[in-house]
């Protein structure tokens, strides 16, 4: 149970509507109007400073951790410098659209139309990208669902983890500012590099000053409220909060409360600087532990108070609403902002790292049931059984949290990406299931690639079945294939083609990011940038890891190829021509063929016949992707994770040979296709573990849905712990569980108001079920539920 304060705060949070706050956009734009002619990085730093100095300061009732990006309890902001057209086009339907609604008031719309959008016309990242991208790539990349990277040109990148351990908590922004100022003194503007460095350090001074100013404004506001406050207890709280905000993030924290407030200010700075997803919190239980241990020992805080502060942070993290276009919302459903927080795992020298805070984080998520942070755990063979059981307890509550990761495979993935062994042991999650390290600059979700499109183009002369347009490589007629191998080769050719254009889309975006949207604030949080004097967007981080291209629909493609192999070429029950006709008419009149296709072995049932195709495809995908290098010379990386992208990716695909009907969802990550895993959860895990997880440095995702009946008793939870350990012994990376009965989900569809806090796992993350579109809700209900046997 949460404290009364948290419970009250949670209720008011649940019942407040996500609303757009325009102040960040207005201040950022106004500043840019005043800085024409200066270097891009200075302009962006000044704009950040202007935002910190001017947006409204809002302290909500009874808050212990303060600071907000907007005046609403659930605020979203817009960043016109990345893209503004969708806001202009869509803001009238923000409050009525099917996925992720927002409120926005009429006066604010007026201001955006008058003062903000006109300035950015022709200047935004989106417009520049669309000008620069070549036509051939654009045909596949722009709003098609075939290959999709719109989150890399309609919004900022995010995908960083602030380095609390070595930078933020150690130095504080005052020290960072001082270092930058010193470097400016040391540099002579006599070379190209020195000129750029001087600008970088000047920008550094501005952003450090900006975030300090922001905190001081909160301190002043807290003092002001304290003066008016009649309740003496709250008055003292406000005075303490005022003291803390005067101290952090300017100076290093010394207490648990100060440290948590510093985490939140650091996070607020990140959000205000670029409003991007996957601004991760890293290994919270590790960097917070020294403060916790010290304060408890010194009697400054007890466990109950620490728990309340953690839960306060969870609520703050959930207050920020990531404002996105309706198209993007199809891919990233549920107001999710992917602020991942990782607990457990091993220390840098390989010992078990679990501590009291690890358990308290689990408890916080159980208590507040918010969709943020994205709670991830790292499990290794020596993780305490009681920790894994506590994880299973939280899973059984049905929030979809935590996502459970194989500690060792995460390290292997990062070793494969070039990190040192100590750093590879120190990993944390980025976004949903990407193993990541805080000293790494990386695009962890650069492109979503629709694998099923490669099958469609191979079997349909390079054309889309839905539109009839030539999209892939021109391919011979379906009747021209003489063997299964020929079909497979055609599929791989089409896949390579899609990979190549994904790479083009990415490096083009990387190029304009480096030119147009340097990240001076985030560069303060990532090791390497300050030392080198090089911005994060230009490769300033200690490590640069190549962008990740995520394949969607492994199961669909493996199942489809098996049907062709088995029914057409082995059993010769049908011809390819007949199959082509059946797919063209979405199986109408070919019900018997569809039945035979559906009856073929399906990935997810521990059948080597089909699973081996999944392994072959994923290995090929990895090698092909790794053969390309990004803008900074780092090899690209593969992943099979998932946002909710398997739904829109499916909506542009015609029928597939596996028996799937036209425009229906594909499959996320390395999960089996919904409803086809009919053997057992152990069979699902064995199928998924056959894939070589360790080479896919961008992460892999398995979603298993359990009925709550299966997780009632301690024995059930112990069994769950056992299958997690077994799955990880097999070399797999990640598994998450949805523990919700279909009956409850149906009820929630009918009476959303009664189920506002019902969390479900969408794919790489959890969100409120009632916030999902009907389609997404139906897709979740359809996933196989294992009833108690």
């Amino acid at each position: 149970m949460s404290s009364h304060r948290i419970e009250k705060f949670k209720q008011s949070y649940i019942h407040s509507k996500p609303s757009i706050s325009i102040h960040r956009a207005v201040a950022f734009t106004q500043s840019h109007k005043e800085t024409e002619g200066k270097s891009v990085i200075i302009r962006r730093a000044k704009a950040f400073h202007a935002v910190c100095s001017s947006i409204p300061i809002t302290i909500f009732d009874n808050e212990l951790i303060i600071g907000s990006i907007g005046e609403f309890q659930r605020s979203g902001i817009v960043c016109p410098e990345y893209s503004w057209k969708w806001v202009e086009q869509e803001m009238d339907s923000f409050s009525t659209r099917s996925q992720d609604q927002y409120q926005i008031n009429e006066g604010d719309k007026e201001i955006l139309l008058r003062e903000v959008f006109p300035y950015w016309r022709g200047k935004s990242l989106e417009e520049t990208f669309l000008l620069r991208i070549n036509d051939e790539t654009a045909k596949l990349l722009i709003d098609t669902g075939v290959i999709d990277n719109d989150s890399k040109w309609r919004s900022a990148v995010g995908e960083i983890t602030a380095d609390y351990q070595d930078i933020v908590f150690k130095k504080g922004f005052e020290e960072l500012k001082r270092q930058a100022a010193n470097r400016i003194q040391e540099l002579e503007p006599v070379t190209k590099e020195a000129l750029e460095k001087i600008d970088f350090y000047k920008a550094a001074v501005l952003v450090c000053d900006g975030i300090i100013t922001f905190a001081h404004r909160y301190s002043d506001k807290a003092l002001e409220l304290a003066e008016e406050e009649r309740d003496s207890k709250r008055k003292n709280e406000l005075l303490e909060v005022a003291r803390i905000c005067r101290k952090v993030p300017q100076y290093p924290p010394e207490t648990f409360h100060e440290a948590i407030q510093m985490v939140w200010f650091t996070q607020l700075g990140s959000i205000l600087s670029e409003n991007s997803l996957a601004l991760n919190l890293g290994r919270f239980d590790q960097y917070m532990y020294p403060f916790f241990a010290h304060d408890v020992k010194a009697g400054i805080i007890n466990e109950v108070q620490a728990q309340e502060l953690i839960e306060s942070l969870w609520l703050k993290l959930s207050q920020w609403v990531w404002a996105i276009s309706s198209n993007t919302a199809q891919f990233f459903a549920g107001y999710n902002s992917f602020q991942n927080l990782t607990i457990g795992g091993r220390t840098r020298d390989g010992k078990d790292a679990t501590n009291e805070l690890s358990y308290m984080c689990l408890k916080a998520t159980e208590n507040v049931k918010t969709h943020q942070p994205g709670l991830s755990v790292r499990i290794h063979p020596d993780s305490p059984d009681e920790f894994l059981l506590a994880v299973c307890d939280l899973i059984s509550v049905g929030t979809g949290f935590p996502a459970v990761h194989n500690d060792r495979v995460g390290s292997q993935m990062l070793l494969a990406a070039g990190l040192s062994p100590e750093d590879a042991r120190d990993w944390s999650n980025c976004g949903c299931v990407v193993p990541h390290f805080r000293k790494v600059g990386e695009w962890t979700s650069a492109v979503n690639l629709n694998l099923a499109a490669a099958i469609e183009y191979a079997l349909n002369s390079g054309k889309s079945r839905i539109t009839g347009n030539v999209m892939g490589l021109v391919e011979k007629e379906i009747t021209g294939f003489k063997s299964y191998e020929e079909v497979k080769e055609a599929f791989l050719r089409q896949l390579s083609h899609l990979i190549k254009h994904s790479v083009i889309g990415t490096v083009t975006a990387q190029q304009i990011h480096a030119e147009m949207v340097p990240r001076p604030y985030l560069s303060m949080l990532v090791d390497g940038c300050m030392e080198k004097g090089v911005d994060l967007s230009k490769g300033g981080a200690k490590y640069n890891v190549g962008p990740v291209i995520t394949g969607i629909g492994v199961a669909d493609v493996a199942n489809s190829l098996l049907v062709i192999k088995k029914l057409i070429f082995e059993e010769k029950k049908y011809t390819l021509e007949e199959l082509g006709k059946a797919l063209a008419v979405n199986w109408t009149g070919y019900e018997e063929m569809r039945k035979d296709a559906l009856a073929c072995p399906k990935y997810g049932n521990d059948e080597d016949e089909v699973d081996s195709i999944a392994v072959e495809i994923t290995d090929f995908y990895n090698k092909e992707i790794k053969s390309y290098k990004d803008y900074f010379g780092s090899p690209f990386n593969s992943a099979f994770m998932g946002i909710s992208n398997y739904i829109p990716a499916g909506s542009i695909m015609g029928a597939t040979p596996d028996g799937r009907k036209s425009m229906t969802p594909l499959t996320e990550g390395v999960s089996p296709h919904a409803g086809t895993d009919i053997t057992s959860p152990t069979a699902v895990m064995r199928s998924a573990a056959k894939i070589n997880h360790d080479v896919h440095s961008g992460g892999t995702l398995l979603n298993v849905k359990f009925s709550p009946d299966l997780l009632k008793t301690q024995r059930d939870k112990k069994n769950l712990a056992s299958i997690i350990r077994a799955y990880f012994s097999l070399g797999a990376f990640h598994v998450q569980f949805n523990v919700i009965s279909t009956e409850i989900l149906r009820k929630a569809q009918e009476q959303p108001n009664d189920y506002k806090d019902l969390l479900v796992r969408v794919a790489g993350y959890s969100t409120q079920f009632v916030n999902l579109s009907r389609e997404a809700q139906d897709a979740i209900i359809e996933r196989t539920t294992y009833e108690s046997l």
Binding site: A683, D716, A726, Y786, L789
Partner: protein, 309 residues
């Protein structure tokens, strides 16, 4: 391959991720054929030692694909829906099941060798190891296929896989002796203490069963007596006390597990064209608790595998 691996038996299901029939995560192997005819049976498709066809008439659309596929004229098109199924002509080849578009026909049982069964069992070895689980042989009456069962148990033993058996207790001791020595856990049913009632409800006397309970408990330390608890049939104080007295006096069993009746077997009874089944009722939770108390009064342990770990 050893000769013993080629020994075959009739198996009607191998259920992976079985979590209540013994410790940990298990695979349950259902062997076909049972000498009992319990009126509440949950798996009536297990009775016949040979393969057979379930015909779910409510799913039949009368398309007659099955009739065309049948080489034995066992399915007749007489204009009505469902079709007429002359079961006595059926050889259980399953051709009709392959073609049915509506899942109305299902073949139950297949001859499998020890090697084939073990191959499936081994797939989940890692899950058994992590959960201290294993394999449970169920039925039907597993000891009715005594040689097949013995070889399966021995094969598991060689792989260090934990084994359990669920038996009706109705078997010849000589058929079970070798397997019992090797099995890690034995679940044995006592359905009723009164011989006449037992005969009426299951078709056989309980005398042999009770003798086997005594024998097994002398040879084996991990023996659990299971009672399918059926309201108004065997949940009266008298029957339970008689059972407890019997166990106390004659055996050193490990414990008793009560399994409240469920009615999942009914649709299968109809699909098998069997008569004589009845809908019984499940004793309520209060009643079950009451019975557990009686058992505990006799210093016999109540066991519930839903909770045990």
């Amino acid at each position: 391959m050893k000769d013993s691996d080629r020994i075959a038996g009739n198996v009607f299901q191998i259920q992976r991720w079985s979590v209540h029939d013994g410790d940990g995560i298990r695979s349950t192997v259902f062997l076909k054929g049972c000498p009992l005819r319990c009126k509440w049976c949950a798996n009536p498709e297990s009775w016949n030692p040979n393969s057979e066809i379930l015909y779910f008439r409510d799913r039949c659309t009368g398309c007659a694909q099955c009739s065309l596929a049948c080489n034995h004229q066992a399915i007749l098109r007489d204009g009505g829906i469902p079709l007429f199924f002359a079961r006595e002509k059926c050889c259980s080849c399953g051709e009709c099941c392959e073609v049915c578009p509506n899942g109305a026909r299902k073949k139950i049982g297949a001859l499998m060798t020890v090697e084939e069964v073990i191959k499936i069992i081994k797939r989940d070895s890692i899950f058994y190891r992590e959960s201290k689980g294993g394999v449970t042989f169920s039925g039907g009456e597993p000891f009715a296929q005594s040689e097949f069962l013995r070889e399966l148990v021995l094969a598991c033993k060689r792989l260090a896989i934990d084994t359990a058996v669920e038996t009706s207790g109705y078997f010849e001791w000589k058929d079970a002796e070798d397997s019992v020595k090797e099995l890690d856990t034995v679940f044995i049913d006592i359905k009723h203490m009164d011989e006449e009632v037992h005969k009426r409800l299951t078709g056989v006397s309980n005398r042999k069963i009770l003798e086997n309970v005594i024998r097994i408990s002398q040879k084996h330390h991990e023996v659990i007596v299971r009672v399918p608890l059926i309201s108004g049939v065997n949940d009266d104080r008298k029957n339970i006390e008689q059972m407890c007295q019997f166990l106390q006096k004659n055996t050193r069993i490990f414990g008793v597990e009560l399994l409240p009746y469920h009615s999942l077997g009914h649709s299968k009874m109809t699909a098998l064209d069997r008569e004589g089944w009845k809908i019984f009722s499940t004793p309520d939770a209060e009643k079950v608790e009451h019975i557990k108390k009686i058992i505990a009064e006799y210093k016999i342990q109540n066991i519930d595998f839903k909770y045990r770990f």
